[in-house]
């Protein structure tokens, strides 16, 4: 009994000394993980006559243990300008009602109708935590919240990765979930209902709800392979399922005279004439689900300090859109601390199966139809885009900066079989944008 008590006492003493000793021992072996590693960027984006945006971003990363980091990111996005409302241009000035149902805006003859009520500020915050699960396994957990005047998004993600083959191959698998809600000015419109004149008493009858929502689930599988001491290759497959309200509540489709191709007057029911109060347009409607598949590959190679970086993405979905994207960068090392980096990107997409640039009068679906789908949003039409850019940067031991200028051009395909006046109009004119970006790594 006495012997047993002695053993118990000895064990208790040993345990206490272990517990008491742990913090000190840990403090002695704990490396100095340093301060937050801060990166910042500022983007200016400007389309001729359309959207302008200023987007500052700041991110901070801190190592909290061996191979374990936390990251925070804040994005502000200030948008002003005008965006295409989907209606066709014609040889007569056209008037449209603002999304709120109050007030109007007028588009000059032969100009693409642009809704100039477009202004918004978005704030997005995201955080991620990267942790080792074992010597070869890693997990990254992330969360983000984004808020703007009429739109809120909350998302979470996880990405697991495992190194195999002497760390020459990394397998990864990830899952993300996002829940978005939209509360557009004036509420969400009834599909295919007509835009009413400003202040019309029947306006609320064309509205379905004050807000709508959607969810998006993404699944990602990837493999990264080291090829040799200068190059590596990555393949990703991702699947994305979006369900809910995928319609753009601000986009409309013109109704035109079947012979002259001139938009119909909302009041008279015949082609508009100069001074008309409102062109007849109906609100668009998209399916309430979309399934996308993307395959992405990237190859990167170092040539005596220069870096060749090329990627290709193939995307297809059940809206019958498929797209090809090629992105190429070449980082030219001009000294131990400076580089130039030209950038070229080509993108091509086919149109959604329900893309409808306009309706011939009488062929538009009945207001409220939920079984028919149509959009005149050129972003779901057949399109090619090109980006050309150049970046110059300085990289020092503990900080660096770079400045980039880019030009972006969207070229859309004109619809076939246009009628009457539409043959004189460019329904999807080129859209080009200039971007300036400044990055600073503290």
């Amino acid at each position: 009994m006495k012997k047993h008590q002695k053993i118990t006492l000895a064990l208790a003493t040993a345990t206490c000394s272990l517990i008491g000793g742990l913090p000190n021992a840990q403090a002695e072996i704990s490396p100095d993980y340093g301060d937050w590693d801060v990166n910042a960027a500022l983007l200016f984006y400007s389309e001729a006559d359309r959207v302008k945006a200023i987007e500052p971003v700041i991110s901070a990363k801190k190592q909290i243990d061996t191979d374990e980091t936390v990251s925070l990111k804040l994005v502000l996005d200030s948008l002003t300008g005008a965006s295409a409302n989907g209606a066709v241009s014609t040889n007569i000035a056209q008037t449209f009602t603002r999304p709120s149902g109050n007030g109007t805006y007028t588009t000059s003859a032969n100009e693409t109708p642009l809704d100039d009520t477009f202004h918004d500020t978005r704030v997005a915050v995201s955080a991620s935590w990267e942790m080792p699960l074992s010597r070869m396994d890693k997990l990254v957990l992330g969360g983000n919240i984004s808020n703007e005047y009429d739109y809120t998004s909350i998302g979470v993600s996880s990405l697991f990765s495992r190194d195999i083959n002497e760390r020459n191959t990394t397998l990864s698998a990830g899952l993300s979930f996002a829940s978005d809600s939209i509360s557009p000015e004036g509420g969400t419109p009834n599909p295919f209902s007509e835009m009413l004149p400003a202040g019309d008493a029947g306006y609320s009858a064309t509205r379905v709800d004050t807000s709508e929502s959607k969810t998006t689930i993404d699944v990602l599988f990837g493999i990264t392979q080291v090829i040799d001491k200068n190059s590596l290759l990555q393949f990703n497959y991702s699947f994305s399922q979006a369900d809910g309200y995928l319609t753009d509540p601000f986009k409309v489709i013109s109704v035109v005279d079947a012979t002259t191709g001139i938009p119909i007057d909302y009041v008279t029911g015949v082609a508009i004439v100069p001074g008309t109060t409102l062109s007849q347009v109906v609100y668009e409607n998209r399916p309430d689900s979309r399934t996308k598949h993307s395959m992405f590959t990237q190859y990167k190679r170092n040539f005596s300090g220069d870096v060749f970086d090329i990627s290709y993405r193939y995307m297809f979905d059940d809206w019958e859109i498929n797209s090809h994207t090629v992105d190429f960068k070449y980082r030219l090392k001009t000294s131990e601390t400076t580089f130039w980096q030209p950038h070229v990107r080509f993108y091509q997409q086919s149109e959604a199966e329900f893309y409808k640039p306009y309706y011939l009068s009488g062929s538009q679906p009945t207001a409220g139809s939920k079984t028919e789908f149509a959009t005149a949003d050129y972003r779901l039409g057949e399109m090619n885009t090109m980006t050309l850019g150049i970046e110059y940067g300085h990289v020092y031991e503990d900080h660096g900066w770079s400045f980039a200028a880019e030009y972006y051009l969207q070229t859309s395909t004109e619809p076939d079989n246009k009628v009457g006046e539409l043959n004189n109009q460019e329904l999807s004119p080129d859209v080009d944008a200039f971007m300036l970006r400044f990055n600073y790594d503290f």
Binding site: A40, E55, V226, S238, Y347, V431, R437
Partner: protein
């Protein structure tokens, strides 16, 4: 197109057994500019622009939602 991609992927993966380096041969691959996404802020800004102007998103990472711009 998708079949070409799959065939290329399989061929490339079958070559993986020949690929790889020893730990002491990683000095170039360890350079920051050789990270697959060596400028994540720039990538995020680009992804946001293209997400709002085109019908495709994601590929490199998650496509997700997060913006009323498309």
């Amino acid at each position: 197109m998708r079949y070409i991609f799959i065939v290329l992927t399989v061929l490339s993966l079958s070559a993986c057994s020949q690929w790889g380096v020893k730990p002491w041969e990683r000095s170039v691959l360890a350079k920051p500019e050789m990270a697959l996404d060596n400028a994540p802020l720039t990538s995020a800004l680009d992804d946001h622009i293209y997400f709002s102007k085109e019908a495709s998103s994601g590929g490199r990472g998650f496509g997700g939602g997060g913006c009323g711009c498309n």
